[in-house]
Symmetry: C2
Subunit: 96 residues, 2 copies
C-alpha cells in the first residue's frame, strides 16, 4: 500500500535561500535514485514565509524506510539541522 507524507519544516530567518538550494539538490537525488518515491516536492506555505511543506508519496512502507536511510538524505538532514528552528513535523498518511 502506498504511503503519503506531509513534512512541515520551519526555517530560521535568513536561511531560506540556503535551505531551498539544499532541498532542491536532495529532491533531484531522491527522484533519480528511488523508484519507490512516487512524489517528492517542496512547497512554500502562503501563511508563513519560514514554513515549508514537503508533499511525498512512496510505493510502500519499505520505500519510505529506504528513503530515510540513503546517504544523501542523511547528509542533507545533517546540513538542515543548522537551518531549521526545530525538528520537522512528519505526518504519515495511508493512500486510499
Amino acid at each position: 500500500m502506498a504511503i503519503g507524507v506531509i513534512a512541515t519544516i520551519t526555517i530560521r530567518k535568513g536561511k531560506n535561500a540556503e535551505f531551498e538550494q539544499l532541498f532542491t539538490g536532495l529532491t533531484e537525488q531522491v527522484l533519480a535514485n528511488e523508484p519507490g518515491a512516487i512524489f517528492y516536492a517542496l512547497h512554500r506555505t502562503k501563511s508563513d514565509s519560514q514554513v515549508y511543506k514537503v508533499l511525498e508519496q512512496y510505493a510502500s512502507q519499505d520505500a519510505l524506510k529506504a528513503h530515510g536511510q540513503t546517504a544523501y538524505f542523511l547528509a542533507a538532514s545533517k546540513k538542515m539541522g543548522a537551518l531549521v528552528t526545530a525538528a520537522p513535523d512528519i505526518e504519515v498518511l495511508e493512500a486510499v
Copy 2:
C-alpha cells in the same frame, strides 16, 4: 510555477466507504483528463478515521483553476456535500 494543494476533508461517520469510492472515481478522471494535474492522491490520516487529506500538485495556477471547473469535479463535489461534515479545508502552496 507549480502549485501544491493539501485538501483536508472530514467525512460523516458511516460514509467512509461511499466517500472513498466516489473519490477514487474522481481521481481516475482527473489523472486521465488533466495533463496539468501532476499529482492527485487521496490519503487516510492516522489520527482520525473520519479525516482524509488529498495531496495535489498542478503545473500552474491555470491548471488548478481548470481542475475546479471540470464537469466531473463539480458533479463529485455536489455528491460529496452529503458525505462531509463541513466544507473541505484547502491549503494552497507554491512549489519551490
